[in-house]
Point group: C2
Chain length 354, copies 2
Amino acid sequence: MKKVIHIFIVGTGKVGTQFLKLISEKSELKTENGDFIFKIAGIANHSRMLINHKGINPADWKLNLLKTGEPAIIKSFISRMQKTDLTNSIFLDCTDGDEIVKYYDVILRSIPIVTPNKSANSGTYQKYLALKKTVKRFKTDFRYSANVGVGLPSLDVINSLLSGGDRITSIEGLFSSTMNYLLDKLLITNKKFSELLKEAHDKGLTEPDPRNDLNGIDTARKILILAREAGYKIEMSDIEIENLVPPILRNINLLDKFYNSIKIADSKFDSLKKLAVKTKRKLVYSARLRNNKVSVGIEMVDSGHPFYSASSNEKVVLFYSEFYNENPLIIKGQSGGAKATASVLVSDILKTVG
Amino acid sequence: MKKVIHIFIVGTGKVGTQFLKLISEKSELKTENGDFIFKIAGIANHSRMLINHKGINPADWKLNLLKTGEPAIIKSFISRMQKTDLTNSIFLDCTDGDEIVKYYDVILRSIPIVTPNKSANSGTYQKYLALKKTVKRFKTDFRYSANVGVGLPSLDVINSLLSGGDRITSIEGLFSSTMNYLLDKLLITNKKFSELLKEAHDKGLTEPDPRNDLNGIDTARKILILAREAGYKIEMSDIEIENLVPPILRNINLLDKFYNSIKIADSKFDSLKKLAVKTKRKLVYSARLRNNKVSVGIEMVDSGHPFYSASSNEKVVLFYSEFYNENPLIIKGQSGGAKATASVLVSDILKTVG
């Protein structure tokens, strides 16, 4: 018997589009737990929405949404979704930011949620805990593997350690491919940091506004979520973040103006490079939970450190625990980008219904 | 409310003794899933056995077994265990070999099993599958995390990949600390293989009979179990094993005689070393599942390979899958020995009752 999974997707940006593409290419999946058929039962974005019990063709969603959809009102999308009462329904939040998150509690009362959106888990601890409680109370599921180091089974590893009675004492990780690409290049080329940043931006390796990479907030959110999953009650405001954007450039509106002035950061990176080369160390932008404190920033590691051999496109997470007290448990893998994220969403959906 | 876990342990060798020591030092455990009390409700070894509903003091088990125990008859130990009908009972098999394994099917009908013993999973595929079916049918649990790379959550990672719809295409691993210690030393010292082996033996780094390290069977069992967990129907006899014991030394009974003759293996290792040094590669004793075939033996890896930077006391497993198709998912950690094994057993027990 094939199980039909009914997906209600909100958000059709990069990740949402990639997910729909993936489903249109491969709508049936044989797994160890059985055979599954993916059906898109609803789509909404900031302008239009559409619900169709019988399924919306994911290859043709744009036209469908335009022709048979109606203006988007997220509240009514959710209430109609809940009224459909289809088996194996999943709410898939592919939006950014906080807007949809405020409905999670209501949604979870009847439908499990899968999302790459970090907002719910990186908001206040109280909100984080409240959602956990809702999930428990309604015996439902809320999965967000793509929140942290897309594709690495970090959350499953934490769960495996904790359910075995272990206590996680420290977590260290490399999460920002962009930052670690820049720091790598800084050491192996003769280019200045500002040049490398411009180059990376032109190659599409940075966020549209590269300050969203440089400010460390995304890395901080990831370690925050890992720390919370490991049992630490930590707020975003507790995290010491090394923001690599010089203070006077943080509020400039025009990107061109930012690029003209980012040269002022070069001298800092020049001296970092000098010290690293002299002491035969490598520069990484890392996140760490140590002694109940979380911090994010540039770190110099010597050749014995597991980060030393990591290439910039690899995500690495080290776990220290009562069991792994001297040497960490290391998980490492290369991934990221919208396509990998879409696969992780499929994986979370299958785990939810499986 | 504290949950009491009733443990029936068979086998009081290195691992069993270490487990009892661990429990005597820490009989209560607070975890994310609640608080647990470990009670030893039964102990048996090859000579004596004892069952006591109220619990046997694990610090004093030897005297207890001697004074109040009776001659061991494993069949009656099992039937009496089943009659106690205690909540949260666990059968913990700390023996080596096949003797207890033949009772697993009967035991699992009422009590879950935790074991570091690889015999059940590395026997015939039919037997492996039959146990899986029994576990499913009786909705019970059979856990054996310590079978493979003690402490690394390899089995949980496989499960995480499979339940997410991924398909594992290849597995590579370093499992033998002893072999990799010898190959490491071979490259960085001027000593011959035979000298290094004798030294390692004298330091207690090898099995009592080092041929049990050199023959590759233990490594083969580990990759066999991983491959089966990943969904491959493979028999031990399908595995191509590079046995490092020269054929004429395989049937010598006296260890002294073996050590006197193992020099004949040196020339092989000399030329391996020469080639490795010349090509700037490293020697490892690895296990691999590739293209549906499993093999175990010496491999030369260059500096780009994840095994290159692994130290000999680290276990490393690489997973290639549909998702991790270009670069593997890597898990890595240092562990092994009776103490670590005992901790993994505690972890498996908690996962079983948790």
